[in-house]
Subunit: 368 residues, 2 copies
Amino acid sequence: MEKINEVIKNIKDLDQGFMAKAKERLDNLTKPKESLGKLEELAKLIAGMTACENLSLAKKVIFTFASDHGATEEGISAFPKEVTAQMVYNFLTGGAGINVLANHIGARVVVADLGVACDLKPHKNLIIKKINYGTKNFTKGPAMSKDEALRSIAAGIDIFEQEYSAALIENTGGSVRGGQKGIDIIGTGEMGIGNTTASSAIAAVFTAKPVKLVTGKGTGIDEEGFENKIKAIEKAIKVNRPDCTNAIDVLAKVGGFEIGGLCGVMLAAAAKRVPVVIDGFISAAAALIAAGIEPKTKNYMIASHSSVEKGHKIILEYLGLKPLFDLNLRLGEGTGAALGISLAEASIKILTQMATFKSAGVSERVEE
Amino acid sequence: MEKINEVIKNIKDLDQGFMAKAKERLDNLTKPKESLGKLEELAKLIAGMTACENLSLAKKVIFTFASDHGATEEGISAFPKEVTAQMVYNFLTGGAGINVLANHIGARVVVADLGVACDLKPHKNLIIKKINYGTKNFTKGPAMSKDEALRSIAAGIDIFEQEYSAALIENTGGSVRGGQKGIDIIGTGEMGIGNTTASSAIAAVFTAKPVKLVTGKGTGIDEEGFENKIKAIEKAIKVNRPDCTNAIDVLAKVGGFEIGGLCGVMLAAAAKRVPVVIDGFISAAAALIAAGIEPKTKNYMIASHSSVEKGHKIILEYLGLKPLFDLNLRLGEGTGAALGISLAEASIKILTQMATFKSAGVSERVEE
């Protein structure tokens, strides 16, 4: 908990001065005022998050964390548990959806094993921070111990901080100028057969909505599987009684290691004033944990899309986040976040690269 | 009309074979079936439009056409008419919103003067196809003659075909292999003080909706200007009686030269099986004219966003197009189309670059 406390004391409010400066510039660019709608709001928000001069979102990283879930024993997923490990190899060889979309937007993908149920073959681009070989079946007791929950969050913090420092040294040769960042913006992503089940449980606990309202069909289960899933989540909550005022308790009892890891990434990014683009339902569940630990983390969150998983909208509303778009996505991995990062970068290019009325010699609107 | 007829006879149906092949591949990629939602639908659609092997959307062009509108005399815009010409220079020096977003997505912007009210200084990147020095005030008679309407469409066809041929020679050194295209995808954009007024008139005529329902505040007029705008449009329709079964008649009586030009671009692109990403309200009005001339042009249209201009949604519904996103944009120039093109390219990269279950050695879903 010490490391977590160390990080969260650095999570600050949005910088109102930078937001006001961004708004002033946006209003002077060669376009009708506010005519770029949500892109302008986004640019202003990111200015407040980053609070730096020479704002750029060139350095983009997506954190895709993998882990297994003991609740798969309950017949809650359309895919066998082995797929978690298989997909990790797919991430490492560049064949997954997130690889394609990260390439498309010029982002790097950081892949980590937080708790896959088998030993993965080492690979130069695989970070291994295995907390355990999958969580326990949460219908029979806590998914993990409190210590494991804390260690999963700490692992996420470590992974972010190592990437940040390494990138900073790589980009600057070690001589860091004021305000320069190792990473400009991040996206969160995950892979874990069974992890929509854990996420629905987290959503139900925090938002106090009935399980049925926050549970979807994940990768595409049939009606029987869907009934199993709802029953498993209801049982997990009944058996474990997670305390919604204690985010670590919720993570331990009904969460997952990749969810804890992503929560750690979110806290660490917020502490460095790095915007966090939330992907889908599982990332949003991690955001609930992060916001539960330190509500100011929400200042640094951008919701990319509205997922097909119906609990996603409910979490975003609870967090006060408005998604940028809805493309009926339900893949995870960080795919929606990648598209959201591209819009965020577009918004910052608008802010920093467009001409003003004055610089372009364009007449302003007729005085009313 | 001869040139237009020559083009439209080459506009074909979507290729069902390529669509089926795309669907088959999408269903075998390492992701739950259809979990990339609208991106998958888009990829399938583009496969049907382009009907080519080795599908890529690397060569992206946005056509941004400028022209003036005589109806500005009626006090219908928040900006003075001079802004049209000033913004053309801004496009040419790279300071406008469309320049920034086109750079962001790796697209080229083709800027053309279809009818700006003054003589523009020549510039190596400015195409001059001036039909006239702005349209006439359509509250007093037709905006342009029938001949001018036809010439504006033909000018758009010429501009597209020249760009297409030039790019094909540049990319291939003249030795074109089968199926290779000079341009892979286009976006439409425009600049013209007063052109939302013309577009509302076009929308009202085709959709038979009351003018009030298809008229918005354009660049941001006040209430008085808004009343002027509605009255001007109602008067234009009453005075000119455009025939909704004759798209050329509608263009001539209540349209604009940039709208005719974009209509020509759409027809020419469709004839080459090049997907057309529609920007906002004015581009959608041009799409109405194009679909009026040849309904199959709709096969090649992708609606990028849903604009703040309320007539936009109504036009898209009329055309049977569903926008990909809604970011409250109302700038035009092709800015929304640029973002839409990026999504289209993402969808094609998904289709062509992701691994299949077989190639990645990932287990498929459990048999039900």
